[in-house]
């Protein structure tokens, strides 16, 4: 078996008196789509915030490609190739596609002794990234503000930004929550494209349909603990829901 690209070992974290995560462990293999399922308050968001460097765990460790990983802030995680796509996409709606892909990391060139932003290069990269994701945006909209684009296109820009910066692990928090059905499908296709390109994805979703459509493996959290871990082929929705809510749930089929 190959080395996991990311490994979470015995992570615990407390907020005041609440133990938000208790000895959580999981592994993410290269090119794998791992779904993180769980009810509200199960600890999904806390876990991804630890992996993306927002929180620091009280106990336990992270390993990236087999080596211990110390994250002081989200910037550290990004340098390592762990990119997070938040629910709100973290786009600057008033800027164009290229500006968003390079937000905070704009390429510059010297002009009359001054460092100026290299806009032609940004526009070129924007085209390349969208092409790689198989997303078509008309040229005239490429140079307009991204608020003019559809939800799916905007999602693609957020994903494009992550992969352009060589994300090896992509964390996606409810990527389809705000989208219409055709756009949800497009985002699912995007995840499949990324997977084919060797990017590992941690997918948080409430939508079991999405999870079963795209994930290889599902880790279920319940009250801060790993309630179970299943290969997608070897489980079904009922079992996952059962793991999510505990013994109180009785499948309607039984």
């Amino acid at each position: 078996m190959s080395t996991p690209i990311l490994e979470v070992r015995d992570i615990s974290i407390r907020f005041g008196g609440v133990e938000a995560l208790k000895n959580v462990s999981l592994q993410l293999m290269p090119g794998e789509v791992l779904a993180l399922a769980g009810d509200n308050g199960a600890g999904k968001s806390t876990l991804i915030k630890i992996i993306s460097g927002v929180y620091r765990a009280d106990q336990g460790e992270l390993l990236f490609d087999g080596a211990p990983l110390q994250l002081r802030d989200p910037q550290d995680a990004r340098v390592q190739g762990i990119e997070t796509i938040y629910q709100d996409l973290a786009l600057a709606d008033n800027l164009d596609v290229g500006s968003n892909i390079f937000l905070g990391r704009e390429p510059t060139r010297r002009q009359l002794g001054f460092q100026v932003i290299d806009r032609p290069r940004m526009a070129q990269v924007a085209r390349e990234v969208l092409e790689r994701l198989d997303i078509v945006i008309p040229e005239r909209k490429l140079s307009g503000p991204v608020k003019m684009l559809s939800g799916g296109q905007r999602q693609a820009i957020a994903i494009g930004r992550a992969i352009y910066w060589n994300a090896r692990v992509l964390i996606m928090d409810e990527p389809t929550a705000a989208l219409g059905v055709p756009e949800q499908r497009k985002v699912m296709e995007l995840i499949a494209t990324l997977k084919a390109q060797g990017v590992s994805v941690i997918l948080i979703s409430h939508n079991l349909h999405d999870i079963f459509a795209i994930a290889d493996r599902i880790v279920v959290l319940r009250r801060g603990e790993v309630a179970g871990e299943r290969q997608v082929q070897q489980t079904n929705g009922d079992e996952i829901v059962h793991l999510m809510v505990g013994d109180t749930y009785v499948s309607p089929d039984l």
Binding site: A92, N94, S99, L103, G104, E106, I117, K141, M148
Partner: protein, 324 residues
Amino acid sequence: MDNSRLDRIALITKLWPWLFLAALLVFFEVYAQVSAHRSFVLNAYNLQSIGLAAAAPLLLAIGQTFVIITAGIDLSAGFVMGLAAVCVAQFTLFGNGSPWILFLSIPLTVVVCLIPGLVNGVLIAWLRVPAFIGTLGMYGVARGAGFLAAGSGMTVSVDNPGLVWLGAGWTPVLLTAVLLVIMHLLLSKTRFGQYTYAIGGNPQSAARAGINVKRHLLVVYVIAAAFAAVGGIIYTARFAAGAANAGEPMLLDSIAAVVIGGASLFGGTGNVIGTLIGALIIAVIQFGLVFIDVNAFWQFIVVGIVIILSVLIDQYKDRLGGAQ
């Protein structure tokens, strides 16, 4: 609507400040030709008057453009300008008429006026005070400080050959033009400018992208204060006297210039060239109405209507964009 027609409408709404300025010039030109057989535009006196009328509000408006793009506002700029006008007069008086004192009095004035800018930035970026309230507080502080610094009278007369040179003829206009070009390049070509837009679009996204939002906002409010200071210094140079209320009528004109130039008070849009056009539109209306002998109070009404019109066009542009 098909795309080419939408594109045409979008282009017109984008260029409308230019078209409006051109229409104003044509109107006054025709009026001048018909009524007096002379030119309105090809007249050095008229151009210089318009340039001088536009320069002071434009200086405030350049700083204001950066602030408004970050979705903020600087209400204190007018009285910071007044404070600068008084300070530079008082400091220059220490030199007993020597032009060399300006190398001390002008930098010192700028430094004094950076303090309100720094306080504005700290209030807004770190203490999360809404820009409208924070700078309204500073409006009062700078106003009081300006009048106190002016002493018994409201104005401080100063007679200094260096200041006379600085305020004579085209000098204030040229100085404003140079600063305008520098700030235009800063806003449109550099990372600093890009981050100004990004913060105005979505401060949270900007922060997540690693942009130091707080420090950036601080710098933006300091820039606004610095431009207010330059405005005040030029005022004193032109009129050989610093007045604490020198910038009072300029403040709203400066905000109007930014808005007419295409900026949204919600942040994220606007540019220095647009602001220049906005300031020129206001100056041409003010000068032109006097030129054609219309009661001066009409200029307030006309400028007011132009502001409302520009916001309406801006909203229409957004709706148009959303529909595409």
